[in-house]
């Protein structure tokens, strides 16, 4: 990941700010400039929309052989999460033993370290998910 791209995506990465189509009301995350359903009608009508951070695990997988940048962090759980607003996100599940993760588990977003450019580079923060309190 480059610093410039990370910087541009900070609102989405830290605060789950996506876009809501002003025509049909559909919420998009990551943010989109045009609603694929409403096309040209949605131009200029896509508004910032902050997700609640709450969602449900739809599917998950345990990563035991991670990509090089996540070496030393395995095993960890990556999940497909259906957010309460209807969109889908992929994120890591933290603060939860692997046996505890299940389909249908309620989760909430939190801010964690995602990765870093080695010992000298930038540190990238972003959303991960943990078991919701309720």
């Amino acid at each position: 990941m480059g610093v410039a791209r990370y910087w541009r995506e900070i609102p989405a990465r830290y605060n789950l700010i996506g876009k809501k189509c002003g025509v049909c009301g559909k919420v998009y995350f990551p943010p989109r400039i045009v609603c694929p359903k409403c096309r040209r009608k949605s131009i200029g009508k896509m508004e910032d929309y902050k997700l609640s951070g709450k969602g449900t695990v739809e599917s998950f997988t345990v990563i035991r052989v991670p990509p090089p940048e996540f070496e030393g962090k395995s095993p960890y759980v990556m999940a497909l999460i259906k957010m309460d607003e209807g969109c889908y996100l992929t994120g890591q599940i933290v603060d939860c033993s692997i046996d505890e993760v299940h389909i249908g588990m309620r989760v909430e977003a939190c801010l964690r370290r995602i990765q870093e450019d080695g010992k000298r580079g930038a540190i990238y923060y972003g959303y991960k998910f943990r078991k919701a309190k309720e």
Partner: protein, 341 residues
């Protein structure tokens, strides 16, 4: 006037028992635990640092205070474990609570009292009408060399306080006591701190905490029995108990704010987490004295009176949060602390 408008606390859920650390080094766990009056300490997750802990505490403070984060005019993060040597933690927090861009922000460093130094600055900015709200955070993921005496206590956690004109607790006054005392330090680029062994007690912690507490009480004409609660910095469980006794406070005044025995020393988070735990249980009219301590060395003392507003404030329940924990063994602890990387 200046007051606490809201507070938020966060302690990572992992714990390691003193017993487990003592097992590795062949020490007597029982004598270490009773000597320090610490039984277990918090450990940050592998992807947690001072920035993520600060964000957790800050988000909770904003949520419970029910304020618009855009009205926060200053954010100060006090820590001795900022993730970057150069690049402020405070900007990460400001972005994560959506307080940007109209605010001032900076990181502070003064061993374990950098957070309360930030509180004093927020009080000054609020009183001088420069800002509406200020946020002061004390947070750390404390480092200790494997095998060092500090390993039994160096913990992780933090607390955030929002300061404004009116709120759940009025800050009646604050004073500081500061000298050049080399009791504990960490050199640039060094991963672990060094310390003056026995030098950390009398001429350092006790001298500064006691002088700050006495100066504050003298200035306000108060005595220990005027306070419902007292919070002293907690490098271990013993020091705050001993300093309370020396100053003439009773055990029941310090119990609610004493978290070190079950979470360890959260450094910049320590006295602020203690104050947060007290605000969780305090009633309207409760009077609180808080004295932080930072090696190097200095103490900030605060005299606080809880207001009627506490009754409708939704409190966080820090002790309940601390019950959600998972114990790790020493090898896992080393992995979470990223000692193998």
């Amino acid at each position: 006037m200046a007051a606490i408008v809201g507070y938020g606390a966060y302690v990572p859920r992992y714990r390691i028992k003193v017993e487990e650390i003592a097992r590795i080094w062949g020490k007597q766990a029982a004598s270490i635990s009773s000597g320090l009056y610490v039984f277990e300490k918090s450990v940050p997750g592998i992807d947690e640092d001072t920035a993520t802990i600060s964000v957790e505490a800050a988000r909770r403070a904003v949520k419970h205070a029910k304020i618009n984060p855009k009205e926060i005019g200053a954010i100060y993060v006090g820590s001795e474990s900022h993730p970057y040597a150069v690049k402020p933690t405070a900007t990460i927090v400001a972005e994560a609570i959506e307080a940007t861009p109209e605010l001032t922000a900076a990181d502070y460093e003064f061993a374990c009292k950098a957070g309360t130094a930030g509180m004093q600055n927020c009080i000054a900015l609020v009183k001088s009408n420069m800002i509406k709200y200020g946020m002061a955070i004390g947070a750390d993921v404390a480092q200790a060399a494997p095998g060092d005496a500090l390993e039994y206590t160096a913990a992780a956690g933090g607390a955030a306080f929002i300061i404004g004109k009116e709120g759940i607790a009025e800050i009646n006054d604050t004073i500081s006591f500061t000298t050049d005392t080399p009791d504990f330090w960490r050199r640039e680029g060094e991963p672990y701190p060094g310390h003056g062994e026995r030098f950390t007690g009398e001429p350092a912690y006790f001298k500064h905490v006691m002088n700050a507490a006495k100066m504050l009480m003298e200035k306000l004409g108060t005595k220990p029995s005027d306070y419902d609660y007292a919070v002293f910095h907690q490098p271990n469980g013993k020091f705050p108990m001993r300093v309370a006794k020396k100053l003439g406070f009773e055990k029941k005044q310090i119990e609610d704010g004493l978290l070190c025995p079950i979470i360890g020393n959260t450094y910049s988070g320590s006295s602020m987490l203690g104050l947060a735990a007290v605000l969780d249980v305090a009633k309207a009219g409760s009077r609180i004295i808080v004295v932080s301590y930072g090696s190097g060395a200095g103490s900030d003392a605060f005299d606080i009176t809880v207001t009627d507003k506490i009754e409708e404030y939704e409190r966080q329940g820090i002790r309940k949060m601390l019950e959600n924990k998972e114990y790790v063994d020493y090898a896992t602890y080393m992995k979470l602390r990223r000692e193998f990387e």
